[in-house]
Symmetry: C2
Subunit: 427 residues, 2 copies
C-alpha cells in the first residue's frame, strides 16, 4: 500500500489521480453494433447474443413461467432480506417526494413546478458471476415510486439461456414491467432504438463493463438520457486516532473487491492508525475469495497522513469520493463542511455495505470525481420537473410592460408584440 | 404554412419530425480548439478571439470599471424591468428549496438526503445582435440561490472589445463572480480545462450556436456536466374553437423569430381556427423586423387539425414540446394529462414571452423532444443531492444479517465481512 505523509497541495492532483482508460478502440465496436441494431432490430440482437453470450434465441422476453419458477429457486431467508431492503429503500425514496407549490410571483401571475414521471425507462443489470439483484432494488423501487409507466430490464443470459433467479425474482417484486434476456452493447442499443420486441426507452440506468459504459454514452447521441457517467467504484475513509483499524480495513477491502481498478483511500490524522490499518488489510485480505481482485486494487490504494482536519477536508473536497466514511470524533465538522461526496457514512457502525444493500439510501452514485456536480440516483432521477403558469388580465397588465421593454432591448420584436397585442385589448 | 387534417398516428413521426443537422464537420474544429486551449491556455484563447471575434487582447477579464460604466449605459426603465423579472425569478426558484428530511428506515438506521451547491459553475451567454441578458437572470439567479461559490460568465466581445452593457449590468446584479470576454468554442474549452485566468468549472450552462452546442457536448468528455443537450426552440399551441387567433399567431411568431430552424406547431380541434390563425400569421409577419427569419420558420411550421382532445393530447405527448400553450376550455384536461412538455402556458393572457422574461419560471428548457426525460433549468440544476447515514449498534444488529445474506448471494464476501466483523464484536 502506498503511504504518503503530509503531501503538498501541489502534489494532490497526482496523488489523487484516478485510473483512466482509452475507449477509442471500444467505440468502433459499439458504433457497429448500434448501427446493426438500428437497422435490423431483433435479428441483430440475436446475432450478438449468440456471439457474446453463446446462446441462440429468437425470443428474448422472459416469460411469466420463468418468473414463477424463480420464486422457488430463492431461499426464504434471502427473500426476507430482499424484502427488508426493499422496505427501507422505499421509505427513504418516498421521503424525497415534493409537493407542487403554487407561487404568485406578481399579482395575477401564478407559477408552479410539478414533477411527472419519465414514461419509459430502461434498467441494465450485468450478468456474470455475481447476480446484482441489489441494483434492481436501487433502480426499480424509485422508478415505481415515481410512477414510470414502462420499466424495461435487460440482463444477459448465460449459455443455457437463463437469467439468475435472484434477478428475475427481484425485478418482478419491484414492478419491472418487462425483462429481456439481452446483455452488453446490444441491450443498450435495443433500448435506445427499440426493436420489434424491446421498447425504446427515454432514459437508461445501471452499471456495466466498459462496453456498456461506452454504449450508454453513445445512446445519449440518440435522444436517450442516462443516469450518469460511470467509472470504477471508490471509497475514501477519513479517520483519526480513535478509529477502529479493523473496521476501516474491512471497509477498504469491501470496496477493493469490486474490481482491480477500484480506488480506496484512507486519509488519517494519525500515523499509528495508518500502520494499524495497513496490517489489518494484509490479514483480512488473505481470507477473501476475491483476493486476487482486491489485491490489485489495494496495490493502487493510498494511505495519506495529514496534520489536521482542515487539510483532510480540503483533500476530500478536491477528490470528491463516491463513498465517504467518517470515523472521527470531529464527525460534525466533516458532515457540515464536505461539499463533494456521493454518499456519506458516519461512525463505526456504518459500513459502506449498509448503503450498498439495505439501509435505504441508493448505491448508484457518482464516481470519477463527478460527485462535484452529479447527484446519486434518487427519486428525481425518474421524474422530470415541468413548469406551469397562468396569468390573469391583472397579471399581464402587471408584468406586461417589463416584458415589452426587455424583449425590445433584446431585439425580439415578436416577443414584445405577443404582449402588446393583449395589453391593447385590455386598455 | 403546412395544414394537416386528421393525420393517422402512423404518420405522426414524419409530421412531427424536427430538423436535424450533421455535426461531424463541426466536431473537427471543436476538437482542434479544445486541444489547443488545453495545451496553451490563454494564448490559445487570445488566438481564437482574434480569429473569430476580430479583437486582439491578452486580458479577457471584465474590470470593475467596465461594470461601473455599464450602469450608466442602461436606461432606468430597463433597470426597473430587469429588477421586476429578477424578483419574480427569485420568488419562483426560492420556492423550490427542499429541506433535509431525516428518515429512520429501520430502528437505529438514520438516513438523510441533503442538497449542496455545485461549487463552480460556468454560464455562457452568446453575443451577436441581441444581448441575451434575460438568460443571465435565468441562470445566475438560481446559481446564487443555490449558493454556488464561483459563477463564471463568458460572453464574446465585439470588434471593439466590448461586451453589451446590459449583459455586464445584469451579470453584476445577479452575483456573477467573474466575467470573461471570451466567446464560442474557446470559451467552453476555457471553462472546461481552466486557463491561467479562466477558472475550470464543474458544470456549464447556457445557449449558443451549433459550435457552442458541440463544444458543450465535448466538454462532458472532460469531467464537466452541462445543463442539457440543446436544439432549436419550439412551441406547440393546442387550441379549440373559442381561442383567439390573433393571440395564437403572435405566440407562434414570437417563437418563429428565434431562428429559421425554430419549430412552431398549432394543434386545433377547429378547422376555422386553423384558417384564422393562418391569416393572422400572414398579417402580423409583415410588421416584424426579424421577418426573414420568422418566415423561414413559419414555412416549416405545422397547423394540425385533430378531431378530439384525446388525440390532441396524445400528439402533444408524442412530440414533447419545449413550450406548450393551452388555449382551450378543456385546459384542466390538458394540464392534468400532459406528460411531456418543458413549460406550460395556460389561457389567453399567458403568452410564452411572459416565461421568457418576467413571470418567474425558467426559460432554459429541454428542446428536441428531451422534455420526455429532462427538466428545464431549476434550482436543483445548481445543486447535487448527497446522502448521509448514521447507524447505531442497534441499527447494525437490525439490518446487518440481511446485508450479510445479500452480499453473500452476490458473491461479495468482503462486503459481508465488513458487517460480520462489527456484529461479532457486538455479540
Amino acid at each position: 500500500m502506498n503511504k504518503i505523509f503530509n503531501p503538498e497541495p501541489s502534489e494532490w492532483r497526482e496523488i489523487l489521480k484516478r485510473p483512466t482508460k482509452s475507449v477509442e478502440d471500444i467505440e468502433e465496436t459499439v458504433n457497429q453494433i448500434f448501427s446493426e441494431v438500428q437497422k435490423s432490430g431483433d435479428a441483430a440482437i440475436a446475432k450478438y447474443t449468440e456471439l457474446f453470450d453463446g446462446f441462440k434465441t429468437e425470443e428474448t422476453r422472459v416469460t411469466a413461467m420463468e418468473i414463477d419458477e424463480s420464486r422457488n429457486l430463492i431461499s426464504q431467508e434471502l427473500k426476507d432480506a430482499i424484502f427488508l431492503a426493499k422496505q427501507n429503500i422505499e421509505k427513504f425514496h418516498s421521503a424525497q417526494k415534493t409537493e407542487k407549490i403554487i407561487v404568485e410571483t406578481s399579482p395575477g401571475v401564478k407559477c408552479w413546478q410539478e414533477k411527472r414521471p419519465i414514461q419509459k425507462v430502461g434498467l441494465y443489470i450485468p450478468g456474470g458471476s455475481a447476480p446484482l439483484f441489489s441494483t434492481i432494488l436501487m433502480l426499480a423501487v424509485p422508478a415505481a415510486l415515481a410512477g414510470c409507466k414502462e420499466v424495461v430490464l435487460c440482463s444477459p443470459p448465460n449459455r443455457e439461456g437463463k437469467v439468475h433467479p435472484a434477478i428475475l425474482y427481484t425485478a418482478d417484486l419491484c414492478g419491472v414491467t418487462r425483462i429481456h434476456k439481452v446483455g452488453g452493447i446490444q441491450a443498450i442499443a435495443g433500448m435506445t432504438f427499440g426493436t420489434e420486441t424491446i421498447p425504446k426507452v427515454y432514459k437508461i440506468f445501471g452499471p456495466g463493463n466498459q462496453f456498456v459504459t461506452v454504449a450508454k454514452q453513445l445512446s445519449t447521441r440518440h435522444n436517450v438520457a442516462i443516469d450518469m457517467p460511470a467509472g470504477p467504484s471508490e471509497l475514501l475513509v477519513v479517520a483519526d486516532e480513535d478509529a477502529n483499524a479493523a473496521y476501516i480495513a474491512s471497509d477498504l477491502l469491501s470496496q477493493a473487491e469490486h474490481g482491480a481498478d477500484s480506488q480506496v483511500i484512507l486519509v488519517a490524522t494519525s500515523k499509528e492508525l495508518i500502520d494499524a490499518v495497513e496490517g489489518e488489510v494484509e490479514t483480512q485480505l488473505q481470507q477473501l475469495p476475491r483476493k486476487e481482485i482486491a489485491e490489485k486494487a489495494i496495490e493502487n490504494s493510498r494511505l495519506i497522513y495529514v496534520e489536521n482536519q482542515d487539510t483532510a477536508l480540503e483533500l476530500i473536497n478536491e477528490y470528491g469520493p463516491e463513498h465517504l466514511i467518517i470515523c472521527s470524533v470531529a464527525e460534525e465538522f466533516y458532515i457540515e463542511n464536505v461539499q463533494n461526496a456521493g454518499s456519506v457514512f458516519i461512525g463505526k457502525f456504518t459500513p459502506e455495505s449498509a448503503g450498498d444493500y439495505a439501509s435505504g439510501t441508493n448505491h448508484t452514485l457518482p464516481t470519477n470525481g463527478y460527485a462535484k456536480q452529479y447527484s446519486g440516483v434518487n427519486l428525481d432521477s425518474f421524474l422530470k420537473s415541468m413548469t406551469f403558469q397562468k396569468i390573469s388580465e391583472e397579471g399581464i397588465k402587471e408584468i406586461g410592460p417589463a416584458i415589452e421593454l426587455m424583449a425590445e432591448a433584446e431585439g425580439l420584436q415578436a416577443h414584445k408584440n405577443a404582449v402588446s397585442l393583449r395589453l391593447r385589448e385590455l386598455e
